[in-house]
Amino acid sequence: MINPGLWRVRRVYDMVPQMLQLQREMNRLFSDAGHKTPAQYPAVNIWEKDGAAVVAAELPGLDPDKLDITVTGDALTIAGSAPVESPAEGETYLRQERETGPFQRTISLPFQVDAQKVEASYDRGILYVTLPRATDDLPKKIKIG
């Protein structure tokens, strides 16, 4: 009669490499836990629309005229400054959670941008930048002669 216990031992040994692999993956997964990656302000969302990228950023309370949006090649730079309300005399801050001060962020897009056709809008504290792909960067169909 075959001892079922022995079979089990054999299977456990077979699983060792997989278990080690799993352990390595878990370690890798949790090694960054608790470490905050240096977050960049502002946070952005990017959508794709008709071959253009739409970058949205939540920037409440800014003067849209003072926002500095520049495009070079495939990089979009958003810079500006959230107004600092310095308290007048006799005023005290009880709570200060909002972002203030200057910021700058550069976002790399996966394609060259047609800088002439970039459009930006600012609505209810959210900035939208539409970045169309440069025509000479578009994929070209090549005919076989």
């Binding site: 969302n45 959508w47 739409v54 939540e58 309300e85 801050y93 909002r98 910021f103 209810r124 504290g125």
Partner: protein, 130 residues
């Protein structure tokens, strides 16, 4: 600016809604002037029609509904989530409830809560004692 956690905080305590969206806690600044308390809340995506300020007993609730149109097309990359806002504050009795003023501009709600007459600093005239 960079040290702060830039992610929005979800308001788990907010009552469940019909709308299937997340609710976040707006970041606020509160400062005190001689005659009033000023509350400034970052609520990107709201305007004067979608923000609600409610005062019940001594609990001031600010809530905002975000109905911004998402650009059509696929999302390539996401760092923040959109959703509604809600946050409640307990006021002391020192606020003149009738005169609370609220304005919204560029996604920022500004509330001015004037102090009640009795809570304002009073200048006490001093007369020379004989």
């Amino acid at each position: 600016m960079m040290e702060k956690d830039l992610q929005k905080t979800q308001n788990v305590a907010a009552a469940e809604r019909i709308r299937n969206v997340k609710t976040f806690v707006p970041r606020v600044d509160i400062y005190e002037t001689k005659n009033s308390l000023v509350l400034v809340a970052d609520m990107p995506g709201v305007d004067e029609t979608t923000v609600d300020v409610e005062l019940e007993k001594n609990v001031l609730t600010i809530a905002g509904r975000v109905e911004t149109e998402k650009p059509t097309g696929g999302m390539l990359y996401s760092e923040y989530e959109t959703g509604d806002y809600e946050r409640a504050f307990t006021l002391s009795d020192e606020i003149d409830r009738e005169k609370i003023a609220a304005t919204v501009k560029n996604g920022v709600l500004r509330l001015e809560l004037p102090k009640a007459e009795k809570a304002r600093p009073k200048k006490i005239a001093i007369t020379a004692a004989k």
